[in-house]
Amino acid sequence: MTPPVTAAKQGLISCHCCALVSPNPGGKGHPPAACPRCGATLHTRKTNSLARTWSLLIAAFIFYIPANILPIMTSTTLIHTQSDTILSGVIYLIDTGNWPIAAVIFFASVMIPVIKLIVLTGLLVSVHRRSAWKPRERTRLYRITEAIGRWSMIDVYVVTILVALVHLGAIAQVKAGLGAVFFAAVVVISMLAARTFDPRLIWDQQELPNE
């Protein structure tokens, strides 16, 4: 089967903004051209995709540690003050019999960020090593990662709503902890990392053996 024709081979670039296909003025050395229709800068691949993705991924990893160690929520009642991290909250919910909620929180706050970080790391490594392993599956992984990324914010929304609603003075009070800030940072940064990664890079290595 003949390999499909790529726009890069033809010297064409598709504008990422208005999708107009226009000729690529030059290769390396030329300054980036602008789209004739909408004026957005034309790139064959996302700018600096690997570097940006790596840097954001590393930042997400670093922030993930305090996100799990510091408490994300402190609830104070008349007799009792309780600080909870993500995991201790999950355990508390399991202990009190709230299986479904515990499962949701565990999935959204623990599994998804971890999966995202691992998948992105794997994709980056595979691109660097120019691996030919199952490019379609890798692309599928990428698409899933990008789609589910935002759902990790569920936990942050829970904390925000509790803080806003439970305002009973001395009887009961909920305060957000520093862990929530770091967790939100992890989610945002990993979402950005997924966006800066250019999945076309997965397919780029396929061209090389054919050169």
Partner: protein, 488 residues
Amino acid sequence: MAVIEQGNRLSVVWIIPLIALLIGGWLAYKTISEQGPAITITFQTAEGLQAGKTKIKYKNVELGHVKTISLNKDLSQVVVSAELTRGTEKYLTNQTRFWVVRAHVAADQVSDIGTLFSGAYIGIDPVSTGKPTQNFVGLERPPAVTADTPGRHFVLQAKSLGSLNVGSPVFFRKIKVGQVVEESLSDDGETATIQVFIRAPHDQKVLKNSRFWNAGGIDFTIDASGIKVNTESIITLMLGGISFDIPHTEQRGKIADENQIFMLYESRDNINKKVFQKRIRWLVHFDGSVRGLIPGAPVEFLGLKIGKVVDVRMEYQPKEREFRIPVVLEIEPERIISGDNIPHEDQRRKLMNELVRRGLRAQLKSGNVLTGQLFVEIAIHPQATPAEIDWESHDYPALPTIPQPLEGITNSVAQILTRLQKIPFEQIGKDLGATAKGAKQLVHSDELRASIRALEATLNETQQTMRSIHQMADYLERHPEAILKGKQ
């Protein structure tokens, strides 16, 4: 030909992980540098304590918190590991004490009710002098005084604790100046040792010759001088208490040293009694009933108490086939003679023998008519039957005795009765009867009547004679010459 576009220089985006690294690093540094010392405290129970939550407070400032609570290997104690804030290292010495503060309701004190709401916390009494250590044994009860309270400790020894326990107040002139901080029993169980703490500036009032007495409850005495009721305060009625002062007979001495040992007397009156060292025991035998003689009854000489009765026994003499009652007396010779002049053994024997020869005897006497109590009086009875001290008897030398005064009266009465019995009342009666009869006969006889008539005649004649003489006396008075010249 595909080109993977990559910037040649380092992208600006690397700032983000750099910032992340800085923030993470700073967090880690903050956590580690703010970590204070970790300690372990052992308690008997973990009641009220919660891992990760219970705080350690000093003057209501949080100094640390409990991390974990577990049991030690043989399950005998609770091991609490706690972390304190930075800067407390110099207060972790072997003099520092930890205890659990829980709500406490007692007769004189209601405290720490707040812990019912906020949960118990661990109190600390930090002392910076001492050997640094990381492992502590927690107290089961809050200490009576913390190390920073000014004042001094003193040690009291007593035969029994009475109603005292830790926290019982100490009074001086009815002002509370301190409290009992510790109590313990000596190893042989004979004495109780009580440690008291007196607050400054009142600790200056404890002198070397101060006497402490147990002021708990009510002092109630009835004696010859009347009824006396004495109590320190309502608190001591319930909790007991200790008072101190110098005895009436002594002057103010020097201020006592810290941890000086004092004796705890039973009551205020006891402190004024002189304390005598030397005691000599004697045996006395009483033959009659000793009902009303109890151990503790006084022994008196010339009206002064010189000792007391220690024991009242009974023994059977098989030889004489009779019962005897040996009574053990304990005499304090210092009451009679001052300590230096007490004679030695041989001289004492000679002295006592001489006294007994002169009539020194022991005698039971009635002390209190109401209660029927007896006491022993030692006095010189010159008319007593001769007797000697039996120096070799049983355990103690035996003083001779004379019977009770009441016994003497009974004896006399018996004697009178015997004499009365000897009088021949019957005979006297008979004689009287005969005499009466004779008299009656005489009265009714004729001779008597005749005599009476003759007597009557004589009386009339005598009357006339008297009348004549009377007339003559009158005439002579008017005519005294009639004696010479006759009647004309």
